[in-house]
Structures are given as structure tokens and as C-alpha cells.
């Protein structure tokens, strides 16, 4: 009987067959994605010459990094049971805001960045409050915000600067200060590693810490997994969700700065359409669309897979018109592998 083992917890439970540490590790949501990422890496390392070199890695790491930062933020939100379709447009919006404020209005560059951050966080706040207040699905609310931001990016910027892309950013005073933080790169083993890669790692680590080790992380899983239950046991649901929307807006600001100071320009359509790529990366990394399950590392790995596949196809020199088809097969393959690993883990003894 149950009470028989009370007080002797060290005794082996006859109701558990085996209990390998490996099995436990394999159950984490991101392990499947990790194995899939390794598979994609090996695949391209074998069939192309450049992919696995330092300079090759530099390229796909870079393209994965900005997507990865957003994917992690969006993954947090998805674990919390919500979507943010304005995340992509936000990256363009913040970049354009800084560009307009500095090149046109001559504002100090750091001040402009601060203003842009405040703007971004306010949009996130409005998103969150609207979702919680009206009870509308976040899919629709943030779609609205997305459209509005897209309109601002295009029409307002056009009105102010007369064209649809920021020009002459490098001539702005003190440009190289934020450039050093967001846009520079250092050479490691013959490949350039961009600042965005370090930011990506930082954001992923931070998000993982928050998710697994803090109260807020517990609340994020709870509001996404069963909102009513979470509310009933006293989780501050509204505050948690609004915070998540602000986080994803904040990440949008960060990526906006990375884009602006790496390429020294942003355009009106920057980030439009990317919002779904973030969601895709999160799902590839093991997040559930229905909320309550997933990991930050998984989302980062999802972005890595996406970035590697995207660049790997170019390295392989395959007919570029098939790009999307290859990408589709690759993603599907990665997710299938991911799923197979997880199932194996569940069956493992």
C-alpha cells in the first residue's frame, strides 16, 4: 500500500521500470530540436564546403540571431497562451523611429533609442491591456496593431522623410557608440561574429532562467496551460500577460536596434511577414500553439534550424526557385525528427 513506503523514499519504486537519467534528459522539450539542429548542421557540413567553416558559420549565425531573439520572446508569449502578430512590424517600427528622430529631427541618438523603447513598450502594454480587457483573441488584437504599425511605418515615414527607407544613418553624431553595442562584429577563428549573436545568447539564457527558475516563469506556464485554474489559485493573470506582451515588444525594439546598427538602414517593410517565422521557429522548437508548454532554448534552436536551412540551401547551390520547397521539406524533417525523439523518450525505460 501507499503508506508502506512513507519514510523510506530511497527505496526503489516497483511501479517504475528503469529510470535512466538519459530518459529524463530526452524528455525536455528542446532536446528534439537540438538533435534536429545537429542533423541539419551535419547535412550541410557534408554536402557543402563552406557551411562548416568559420566564415560560413558567421553568416548563418548572423541570420539566425535576430530571428532567434524574436522567436524566444514570442515563445514566452506562446507558452503564456497568446500570440503577437505585431512582433515583426515592431522591429521595423523601432528602427524607423530612431532613424527618423536622428536623421530628420537631429535628436541625440541615445535619447532617440530611449524614446523608441518607450514607444515599443507602450504598444506592448496596449496590446496586453486590450487583450485582457476585451477578452478578444490576441491573434486579432495584435493583428490590428500590426496593421496600424505597418501603416505608420509606411505612410508616416513617407510623409516625414519623403521616402520609404532611412538614409544617411552613418552620418548621425555618436553613431558609432550604439553601433559598437548593436552593430559591430569581432573576428573569432577567422569568422566574424556579430553583436546580434551575443545578444541572442544573452536573451535565450535570460528567458530560460526566468521560465524555469522564477515565480514569473511558473506563472507563464500556468496562464498558458489553464488560465482559469491559474486565476483560481491566485496567479496575477493580467499582469503576467501584459508583461509578456511588453517583453515581446521590447525584444522587437532590441532587434530593431540590431538591424539599424548592423545594416545602417531600415525600410518601411522591414519585419513585415516575419511574425509568422518567429511563431514557426517557436513551434519547431517544441512550443505548443495552444500554450502552456515549450522552452526558450527550443525556440532559439528553431531559429538556428531555420537560419541554417536558409543559408545552407544557398551554399548547396540548389536552384533558388525551389528554396521554399527545400525549406518546407527541411522544416518538416526537423520537426518529425524532433517528435520521434520525444516519443522515443516517452517510451524509454
Amino acid at each position: 500500500m501507499a503508506t508502506a513506503t512513507v519514510g523510506k523514499p530511497e527505496q526503489r519504486d516497483e511501479r517504475v521500470a528503469g529510470n535512466s537519467a538519459l530518459g529524463k534528459v530526452l524528455k525536455r522539450p528542446e532536446v528534439g530540436a537540438l538533435i534536429a539542429a545537429v542533423a541539419v548542421f551535419v547535412f550541410f557540413a557534408v554536402i557543402t564546403d563552406t557551411f562548416a567553416t568559420a566564415s560560413g558559420a558567421s553568416t548563418w549565425l548572423r541570420s539566425a540571431s535576430t530571428i532567434g531573439i524574436m522567436a524566444v520572446a514570442v515563445a514566452l508569449l506562446m507558452i503564456g497562451g497568446e500570440f503577437d502578430l505585431s512582433a515583426g512590424a515592431m522591429t521595423g517600427f523601432t528602427g524607423l523611429a530612431v532613424g527618423v528622430m536622428t536623421t530628420q529631427w537631429g535628436l541625440n541618438i541615445w535619447a532617440a533609442m530611449l524614446v523608441a523603447l518607450v514607444l515599443a513598450l507602450s504598444v506592448g502594454f496596449v496590446n496586453g491591456v486590450l487583450v485582457m480587457r476585451t477578452g478578444l483573441p490576441s491573434f486579432i488584437v495584435t493583428l490590428g496593431t500590426f496593421f496600424v504599425l505597418q501603416g505608420i511605418d509606411l505612410a508616416l515615414v513617407k510623409v516625414i522623410i519623403g521616402q520609404v527607407a532611412i538614409q544617411g544613418m552613418t552620418d548621425v553624431p555618436f553613431y558609432d557608440q550604439p553601433h559598437a553595442v548593436f552593430g559591430s562584429n569581432i573576428e573569432i577563428a577567422g569568422g566574424r561574429v556579430y553583436a546580434s549573436v551575443f545578444w541572442w545568447i544573452l536573451v535565450t539564457a535570460l528567458a530560460t532562467w526566468v521560465l524555469l527558475k522564477t515565480r514569473v516563469g511558473n506563472w507563464i506556464f500556468a496562464v498558458g496551460g489553464a488560465q482559469t485554474s491559474a486565476r483560481q489559485v491566485g496567479v496575477p493573470v493580467a499582469r503576467t500577460k501584459v508583461g509578456l506582451f511588453m517583453t515581446s515588444a521590447g525584444a522587437g525594439w532590441l532587434v530593431g536596434m540590431l538591424l539599424l546598427f548592423t545594416t545602417s538602414t531600415v525600410q518601411s517593410n522591414t519585419g513585415v511577414g516575419q511574425e509568422f517565422i518567429y511563431i514557426i521557429c517557436a513551434v519547431v522548437g517544441g512550443c505548443l500553439l495552444t500554450g502552456g508548454y515549450g522552452s526558450a532554448v527550443g525556440a532559439a534552436l528553431g531559429a538556428l534550424i531555420y537560419g541554417m536551412a536558409n543559408q545552407g540551401i544557398v551554399y548547396a547551390g540548389w536552384d533558388n526557385n525551389w528554396l521554399k520547397a527545400f525549406l518546407g521539406v527541411m522544416l518538416l524533417g526537423a520537426v518529425l525528427l524532433n517528435e520521434a525523439v520525444r516519443r522515443r523518450a516517452e517510451r524509454s525505460r
Binding site: 501507499a2 503508506t3 508502506a4 513506503t5 512513507v6 523514499p9 519504486d13 511501479r15 517504475v16 532562467w209 527558475k213 522564477t214 515565480r215 516563469g217 511558473n218 506563472w219 506556464f221 500556468a222 496551460g225 489553464a226 482559469t228 485554474s229 491559474a230 486565476r231 483560481q232 489559485v233 491566485g234 496567479v235 496575477p236 493573470v237 502552456g292 508548454y293
Partner: protein, 278 residues
């Protein structure tokens, strides 16, 4: 008598045009167990959800420590020391048992940016609190959705008992429990009462209600039929009241024939029928 912790006056709840509860007046006193009795759909869960802050009441007033309140979230009730076991348990199926146990009131260690969940303590406590209830979990890291119905209920109860500071509300806590686990829950209730907590206890089992209850409140079709102290009620009367209603004679007869006289249900119905005749 002591001043009540919670007092409700003519309280009511409507869902759209559905009246689930109307005109209920009662109070929860410290050191007293109030049993809420009633048929299925009588409004018991609705009543305790109002006390717990999970639903806002649409009519009447609710006062805690004499101060009128309109809970907009269970968090407010929890902050006042009111802990609840909901009938549907309020667990997050995909989360591990230990995270569910402490959800909403997580203990932390470290300071400033190093403030983090005290995972060790959380796991240890969960394991030990549950084994005190007679539940020996294989692994507190299991998602709570994979536990059996009774195991899940025990987690919800252990959690409420652990955090309940002044009032403990239990909605059919023993429904899915085995005999031994039920015994533990009844003992918890008795202990909480002795420690001076106010307890609200809902059950369909008169044998669970009678020994621990101090007062019995009867709901019928969303309305209160009155509030009886234990002194005014025998186990027999209680059982009859719980079976409730009329036209039971036929059922009682049938049952007695089909199941034999030893059936508890048949006996209860019979006794009520007798009472109605007198």
C-alpha cells in the same frame, strides 16, 4: 459567539438569464465547520466560488471582517487567508506536480536578481505533504495531468490546507478519494477547526458531513432552506435532508427490493419517506 470572518447577505449569482443562486444569507465563523448541503445543481459550487473570489456575485453583499468586499479575483481572497479546493481542482495539467502545488505562492531564495524558486524545498514539501495524505507519488516531476483522479484531488487539498490561513473552503474534496484518504481529509478539517480556522465543507456524503460539521446550510434549487446548528439535527434528519424532495417513496421501495435492505442509499431514502409521512 465570535464575530464571523465572512458574512454574506441576500447574495445571488446570475449567469446571463440563468439564476444559479439567490438570496443566501449566512456567515463563516472561526473555529466552526459549516457544511453546505444540497442536491446536484443546487448552487453549492456557485456559492463557494463567490466566497473564494472566483466569481463576482451579482446581487447582495459580501463582507470579510465586517468590511464589504467585491472580490474581482481569487488573489484578493487568498490575500485575506481564504484558501479553496475547487470541485474541478484548479490544476494546470501540463505542469509538474510540485509546480502546481505552489502555484501562485511560490517560495523563493536568494535576493535581488538572484531571487529564484526554492526548487528543492518545493519538491520535498510536495512529496511529504502528499505522503501524509496516503499518496505515494512516483515522481513529483510528473505532469499533474497524468495523475489519477484521486491523486490529483489530494494535491489540491494538500495545497489548500498548506496555504489556508483563516478560512478553508472545500468543494466535495472527498469525491474521488479512497476510504483512507477521506479519513485524512476529515482529520484535516477537524484540525483546522481546532486551530481556529473557519471551514466551509461541501459533500454529498452524510457520513462525512455529520461528524465534522458544526452547522448545516441547505441549498435547494439555488435558494437557501435555512442554516441549522448540529444540536438541532440528527444524522438521520441530515441524511433525509440531503436526499431531499418528495416522490421518493417509489424509488425507495424499488431500491430496497432490488438492492436489499443493507444499501445505505435505500435506507436513506426510506427514512426520508418515513419522515415525510409523519
Amino acid at each position: 459567539m465570535t464575530t464571523p470572518i465572512i458574512e454574506v447577505t441576500d447574495i445571488g449569482k446570475r449567469y446571463g438569464n440563468i439564476i444559479a443562486l439567490a438570496d443566501v444569507t449566512t456567515a463563516v465563523h472561526p473555529g466552526e465547520v459549516t457544511c453546505v448541503l444540497g442536491d446536484n445543481g443546487a448552487g453549492k459550487s456557485t456559492f463557494i466560488k463567490i466566497l473564494a473570489g472566483a466569481h463576482e456575485h451579482t446581487d447582495g453583499r459580501l463582507a470579510v471582517d465586517g468590511e464589504e468586499r467585491h472580490f474581482s479575483s481569487p488573489r484578493e481572497a487568498l490575500a485575506l487567508g481564504i484558501a479553496t479546493v475547487y470541485q474541478d481542482l484548479a490544476v494546470v495539467p501540463l505542469m509538474p506536480v510540485w509546480r502546481n502545488f505552489f502555484l501562485g505562492s511560490e517560495p523563493t531564495k536568494g535576493r535581488g536578481p538572484w531571487k529564484r524558486l526554492d526548487v528543492d524545498f518545493m519538491k520535498r514539501t510536495t512529496k511529504s505533504e502528499l505522503s501524509q495524505m496516503g499518496i505515494d507519488l512516483r515522481d513529483v516531476d510528473q505532469p499533474i495531468g497524468t495523475l489519477s483522479g484521486g491523486e490529483r484531488q489530494c494535491v489540491a487539498i494538500a495545497r489548500a490546507v498548506y496555504f489556508g490561513a483563516r478560512v478553508l473552503i472545500l468543494d466535495e474534496p472527498t469525491a474521488a478519494l479512497g476510504v483512507k484518504q477521506s479519513g485524512v481529509v476529515l482529520r484535516y478539517i477537524a484540525r483546522a477547526r481546532d486551530r481556529g480556522l473557519g471551514v466551509v465543507f461541501i459533500t454529498h456524503n452524510p457520513h462525512h458531513a455529520y461528524p465534522v460539521g458544526d452547522r448545516f446550510m441547505l441549498l435547494r434549487r439555488g435558494r437557501s432552506m435555512g442554516d441549522y446548528p448540529k444540536t438541532e439535527m440528527s444524522l438521520h434528519e441530515l441524511t433525509a435532508a440531503m436526499a431531499g424532495g418528495s416522490e421518493l417513496e417509489a424509488l425507495s421501495h424499488e431500491l430496497a427490493e432490488e438492492l436489499g435492505r443493507d444499501s445505505e442509499v435505500a435506507k436513506a431514502l426510506e427514512s426520508e419517506v418515513k419522515e415525510l409521512r409523519t
